[in-house]
């Protein structure tokens, strides 16, 4: 069967090989193809993430899951870094925690994240991360960009003001639903997620209306219609099940 062009199989990692290494001075064991993030979570060690979602391919783009590895000068994203025997990982040094906070602050300045009028207030991953990391205020100036709301779909709407460009919607639509309605356009700070070729969502001919994108969205950017402030609670229990049904998505380092 011809593979989807975006799916690449990482063959340098042998899933049957086992190894042991250290996370925060704790001895842990892992398969060679389990990311440091996966192993950390198995052991109850929390690493903040935003673009990562179990069941979707990894992007390594939000940079919140950065960790330190002893002997390596660079900070590494734990979602796409794989353990080596006797590696020593530090997940919560002051250095990485400070950087995580700053990245989060930058994300808050990028769009108009006004929690008090957001459908996801109280159930928002971005908000939770800020609480978790102790971001009480944002030192950088807000950019206040002008962004539109597309409410042309009969059941869902997208508010670009709340989007953090994690691209979970793009990945779930492509990898799980198989529709690839969502994609991204533009570059840098002007990037924006789009439906079809930047047509109104309601007119999309590829959208199946499954709503998976809405459920995986970490913020209030994608929501169901009819929800008012703080009413949008995301349900993503379906994802591990669907992923199991469709076999392992082993393109974790792609995109």
């Amino acid at each position: 069967m011809k593979q989807h062009p975006q799916k690449k199989v990482r063959t340098d990692l042998n899933p049957s090989r086992l190894l042991t290494f250290k996370i925060d001075e704790r001895d842990v064991s892992a398969h060679e193809d389990e990311s440091i993030l996966t192993v950390a979570r198995q052991n109850g060690i929390s690493i903040p993430t935003l673009c990562h979602l179990d069941g979707l391919s990894e992007r390594g783009a939000c940079r919140l899951c950065i960790i330190e590895v002893k002997g390596v000068a660079k900070l590494l994203p734990s979602c796409v870094t794989f353990p080596r025997q006797d590696m020593e990982v530090i997940t919560n040094s002051e250095r990485v925690v400070t950087y995580r906070k700053k990245i989060l602050e930058l994300l808050f300045t990028e769009r108009n994240h006004v929690c008090s009028v957001c459908v996801s207030n109280g159930h928002c991953e971005l908000q939770n991360l800020a609480v978790e990391l102790g971001v009480t205020h944002v030192r950088y100036p807000y950019l206040y960009p002008r962004h539109a709301v597309d409410a042309s779909h009969s059941r869902f709407s997208i508010d670009h003001n709340r989007c953090v460009l994690c691209l979970r919607c793009v990945r779930v639509c492509d990898e799980i639903e198989g529709a690839h309605t969502w994609d991204i356009m533009g570059r840098g700070i002007t990037s924006q997620v789009i439906t079809d070729l930047n047509q109104p969502w309601g007119t999309s001919e590829t959208c199946t209306g499954c709503g998976k994108c809405v459920q995986v969205c970490p913020t209030g950017a994608l929501s169901e219609k009819g929800k008012s402030v703080a009413e949008m609670i995301k349900r993503r229990q379906f994802l591990p099940y669907l992923q199991m049904m469709r076999g392992r998505q082993d393109d974790s380092w792609q995109k």
């Binding site: 930058l106 950019l143 380092w253």
Partner: protein, 548 residues
Amino acid sequence: MTLNSEDLHQIAKIEKDKQDGFQHRIHVCVAAGCLSCGSGVLMDALGKEVNRRGLDNWCQIKGVGCLGLCAEGPLISLATSGTYYQGVKVSDVSDILDALGGNPVGRLLCPADTAFFKRQVRIVTENCGRIDPERIEEYIAESGYESLYLALTQMTPPEVIEQVTRSGLRGRGGAGYPTGLKWTTVSKAISSTKFIICNADEGDPGAFMDRSVLESDPHRVIEGMAIAGYATGASQGYIYVRAEYPLAVKRVRLALAQAERLGVLGNNIFNTHFNFTIKVRLGAGAFVCGEETALIASIEGRMGRPRPRPPFPAEFGLWEHPTLINNVETFANVPPIIRKGGKWFAGIGTEKSKGTKVFALAGKIVNTGLIEIPMGTPLRDIVFAIGGGIPGGKGFKAVQTGGPSGGCIPEQFLDMPVDYDSLLQVGSIMGSGGMIVMDETSCMVDVAKFFMEFCMSESCGKCAPCRVGTRQIYDILCRITGNQSTPEDLAMLEDLCDLMKNTSLCGLGQSAPNPVLTTLKYFRDEYLSHIHDRTCLAGACKTVVEVS
């Protein structure tokens, strides 16, 4: 059709005899720089005049690649006497032809014994300005494809790599990764399909080395790629060149067609089992596509965005296959290394940076143009001796190397030898070879702002630190060059630069703060005077209101 060594020599001999048949040979530069000042029209006029005078068999008019001194174009050179003419107009045509064989036309004369010509050591550009880039026969006449023949018939792939390793050649795209090591890695990769990619997505502002090499001597790059293919076990190559270089694209395509016609590309090259083909892919103008993983994504037809490494392209590259990616200039260095041996190449340059480097001199400098000099040449010699110094008697302020990923080097480091490690030490990088010279009228904050604006608009938007960080830094620099900055802005600027450097996904984001960091380090007083006194020390930022 397959060639052998005699065929190659035969082609070279016919070509040489043909050239020797002419009493005079006039070379007109038809690279992009001179073409834009009208060298195409000039060449037509020369041809017509020669024809009118019935001198067709006596004097040859030939379009050649870059002659180097782009500032004084259109340039022509008289191959027989070694005379250079600069700023030639169509009205000068008959004077030039009248003077052939006698005294040269004084008013057009470009002094050829200056440091600009004498200090250069030409390896990559040895044929630039000497051969017609649109004819493969002329390249063959200058020992072209001899190295490929030598490699294919008399060397094993490990021997080829051994020569490249011994030469000490380092990647000319900017990072300076040892080429021999890269080739070894790809050759060790186990796969029946491997790819060679030539990175010609030269996007740094002020850099035009790769363009000139492709426009002036495309076959050299093709030969280098074929040798790399033989050494690493690849049979397909791609040249990824930006669409903004239409002339380079045209000449590369022409060169590929000619090479295929002659059989130096294709199946069973030189009657061996080695097959190699090259395709051209055009970049759509994204700077980030110079980053290798983004470049691969772009060739595959996906969005040009980098992905985290490892795995590196040497293991997982184009279409999941092991891929060797080198810069244009790196490949262009390969044929002479094979022909003359790695030891010869290692004899040029400094201990850790071997060979020569092509630089594009731009900005406030007299001799704007292309130069090739041995590694380790002091910066002062480049700017003042070869570059001719600053025009208008103004004072030197800084030289920016490495484009948006590099830094500004102040006067105190002018005596520093230019090689990979020295540049790194002062906070800049070799980069692909752009050198932008700034005089005392340039405001360094403004320069930093220019590069940050470039990085902001070229950031792909994938990772958060680069996407938002470039915009925030740009805003701060705008506030400083405007009159709205506060002392806190400076701390925030340093804070953001540090964040981007350490947390960005790819090289673009990690190195984007370099121009800001180096100007902050060496020209902090300019930042401070903007912030505290609302004055631009260089007088360049008009928006700053002076407060008495």
